[in-house]
């Protein structure tokens, strides 16, 4: 009896939930008790008992092509839904294939739970077939991980892993499930996700510290907010917006913070950092008090630490005490939940900072350093043009996923993000190949009337494009736009800028036809080579009710600007090639 992976008609509603009889049942019952509706994964020897329990579950399982795809899909599901995404894999290669996805989720603090099969406990440590020390391998890339050795506690452990994945600073957790444990008998019905005893998550920050920070901010002449991914994780976008608009503070975001503040707002300076806008970088660099919320001051954001916002007193709100003064010294550390602390700070402000001139200056910078590129009808299509055309074509709440590279930067720069959880990307780890599996996960998590668009590069797409099979099989309405420049373009750009143009292993003399490949998979394939084709082709691909791939041949020589060279001074961004040569 094959079970449809896609839930169609009403299924087992008439049959009550089966009682737990095995460790595997307990693991699945724990997921059900946590409200899990979808799981992404692949079968394999050691995980078979868990899949056998899934056979009887209402959880919709999405069979992916590769465990890396399962992990990225679960990660994106977690980003878009705010609930941990779940992935499953077998022991050995199944588990090691998850590692990239776990590391990606760990770097970006995305909530995710991985269940891995394992050889029976009798064989553990004896180099059995498909045995890997999974908890050993994944220790540095998970928030925490477990080996479940007793079927009576398996359900509780899975529930705890789920609770920890979303509590406090989110992250990936993993439970390794030996086969004799999942096959072992138990009657323990899990109750639902429970945090470990004594697990303490800070909520409100110390009142005196909040008052001091509020005073510094009220006294500021050049205040700025730096809004990070933590604002979205904490669902604190309303609190952030209330604070910024009430007190008139310009808002810069990090890349994971995209969507925490609408980019078309008068106070929005958009993304700062290596490829951030000139005006975002000028705003941060020149501010005298920075309210940084839910950010870990990544080096792609700060550039050189010595030159980062060197006149600014830093108020740092973070739920993870270990982020305080890790990279940038916090003059006013406020440990707690972003929304709660922003409200505390809002109430503690005795007046708005006198920053009218400063806001005017920030607006000036926005005029002075606009994002721009050149369009000439005779030249190959500029990738930025495609991003803008797609943005125009799609509703405001469209979810955008990306791979990693130049296309990712253009998707970040030239799309106007107005809502949280509409930007799904690989930031900290920089995982090429993230885009397509992420679009699959995002599709399951997004509302039915929301569109999902994936921007990818040719290099990035080639890493995980087999997941198109899943998109076709599951009849997923997603549009993939490949900004195809026949190169790993970011590497090529760096070679031109920093390696005297020696383009070693970065250009592809031949690239497959992605439109043809898409058709082979059963998706719709399109190709764009000239400007005239852009509008109609994008529209046709977007309106197709199912997975479509647009192979857009773009200018292979186009570079990403602005750029701050690695470790550089964020005031000294280059707006173009000539300016880069001045550095």
């Amino acid at each position: 009896m094959s079970k449809r992976t896609t839930a169609t008609e009403e299924t087992a509603d008439e049959s009550p939930r089966r009682p737990v009889t095995t460790g595997a049942d307990a693991a699945i019952a724990a997921l059900e008790a946590a409200g899990v509706e979808h799981a992404f994964g692949l079968q394999g020897g050691a995980i078979m008992p868990v899949y056998d329990s899934l056979y009887h579950s209402d959880i919709q399982h999405v069979t992916m092509c590769h465990e890396q795809g399962a992990a990225h899909a679960a990660d994106a599901y977690g980003i878009v839904s705010g609930e941990p995404g779940v992935c499953l894999a077998t022991s050995g290669p199944g588990a090691t294939n998850l590692v990239t996805g776990l590391a990606d989720a760990d770097m970006d603090s995305d909530p995710m739970v991985a269940l891995t099969g394992q050889v029976s406990t009798d064989f553990l440590g004896r180099d059995a077939f498909q045995e890997t020390d999974t908890t050993g391998v994944t220790m540095p890339v998970t928030k925490t991980n477990y080996v479940s050795t007793d079927p009576d506690t398996t359900g509780h452990t899975v529930g705890e892993a789920f609770a920890l994945a979303e509590e406090g600073r989110p992250g990936p957790t993993l439970v390794d499930l030996p086969k004799n444990v999942t096959k072992g008998e138990t009657g323990e019905q899990p109750v639902g996700p429970e945090l470990p005893e004594d697990f303490d998550v800070p909520n409100a920050a110390d009142g005196a510290a909040v008052s001091e920070a509020a005073e510094a901010l009220a006294d500021a002449e050049q205040p700025a907010i730096l809004s990070g991914g933590g604002v979205i994780k904490a669902e604190a976008w309303d609190e952030l917006r209330r604070f910024a608009t009430e007190y008139g503070v310009p808002v810069v975001t990090t890349m994971p913070g995209i969507g925490s503040f609408p980019e078309d707002h008068d106070l929005a300076m958009e993304v700062a950092g290596m490829h951030g806008t000139g005006y975002a970088n000028m705003t941060l660099q020149h501010c005298d008090v920075m309210l940084a919320v839910g950010t870990r001051f990544d080096d792609r954001l700060t550039g050189g630490v010595e030159t980062f916002a060197p006149d600014a007193e830093i108020i740092h709100i973070d739920i993870d005490p270990a982020e305080i003064s890790k990279i940038i010294h916090a003059d006013y550390p406020l440990v707690g939940d972003a929304g709660t602390v922003l409200d505390q700070l809002y109430d503690a402000m005795t007046r708005a900072p006198d920053a009218g001139e400063w806001r005017e200056q920030c607006r000036e910078w926005r005029k002075e350093y606009p994002l721009e590129y050149s369009v000439s009808e005779d030249d190959p299509v500029k990738p930025q043009f495609l991003v803008e055309a797609m943005d125009e074509l799609t509703p405001d709440d469209t979810v955008v996923t990306t791979g990693v590279g130049q296309h990712q930067m253009w998707a970040m720069q030239y799309w106007t993000y107005r809502h949280p959880r509409t930007w799904v990307s690989s930031h900290g780890l920089g995982t090429m190949g993230y885009g397509l599996p992420a679009a699959i996960g995002a599709r399951f998590a997004a509302d039915d009337d929301q569109s999902v668009v994936c921007f990818d590069g040719d290099g990035s797409f080639l890493m995980t494009l087999q997941e198109l099979a899943v998109a076709v099989r599951e009849e997923l309405d997603i549009t993939v736009v490949v900004l195809n420049n026949a190169a790993v373009g970011m590497v090529r750009q760096w070679q031109d800028a920093f390696f005297d143009g020696r383009r070693m292993a970065s250009e592809y003399p031949w690239v497959p036809g992605f439109d043809v490949i898409a058709e082979g998979f059963g998706a719709r394939g399109f190709r764009i080579e000239t400007y005239e084709e852009v509008d109609e082709t994008l529209r046709e691909a977007y309106e197709y009710d199912g997975p479509s791939v647009v192979d857009a041949h773009v200018d292979p020589e186009e570079d990403v600007y602005p750029i701050v060279p690695s470790g550089g001074d964020n005031t000294k961004f280059a707006m173009n090639e000539a300016q880069l040569e001045e550095l």
Binding site: T135, G136, M139, P140, T144, L164, P196, D198, G278, M282, Q285, H286, F297, V305, E306, T307, F308, A309, P310, D311, A312, E313, D320, P321, A322, I324, S325, K326, I327, I328, H329, E368, Y369, E372, Y373, S374, Y561, T571, K572, F573, A574, M575, N576, E577, A578, Q579, E582, L583
Partner: protein, 131 residues
């Protein structure tokens, strides 16, 4: 159009006056960098006594470039908990960061810092291995 607008160049823009040191702390532009070589810290962690806990702690140190100079571990009371004491060389941003990272590990119950003299007591027995 790229390259042809009159956007102020990197060296024509207003520059902030200040500077930070390598720890990300604001500092006077000409202040000498703090000498960070040879710092030591003694940390003692109470942990759940379970397989893998030492690996979790030492793995964290290895990943974050913290050299362990000395380490002593022993079970406490009924054996449900252990105390692991280390002398470490923390790189910047310093011992607070090490403590906070340690405290995030699930089996770590508490972390205390001791003064450097404690290191001598800690390793007094180890210094005379043949006794």
């Amino acid at each position: 159009m790229n390259g042809e607008t009159d956007v102020p160049g990197p060296h024509e823009r207003a520059q902030p006056n200040g500077r930070r040191n390598a720890d990300g702390t604001r500092t006077e532009p000409d202040a000498p960098q703090k000498d960070t070589v040879g710092r030591r810290a003694v940390l003692s962690a109470i942990v759940v006594n379970e397989p893998g806990v030492t690996a979790k702690v030492t793995g964290l140190f290895a990943r974050r470039q913290i050299n362990i100079e000395r380490i002593v571990g022993e079970p406490m009371g009924d054996g449900e908990r252990s105390r692991i004491t280390f002398v470490v060389e923390p790189p910047h941003p310093g011992v607070q960061q090490v403590k906070r990272q340690l405290e995030k590990l699930l089996p770590v119950i508490s972390v205390k810092e001791f003064d450097l003299e404690a290191a001598d007591h800690l390793t007094a027995a180890i210094d005379e291995p043949d006794k």
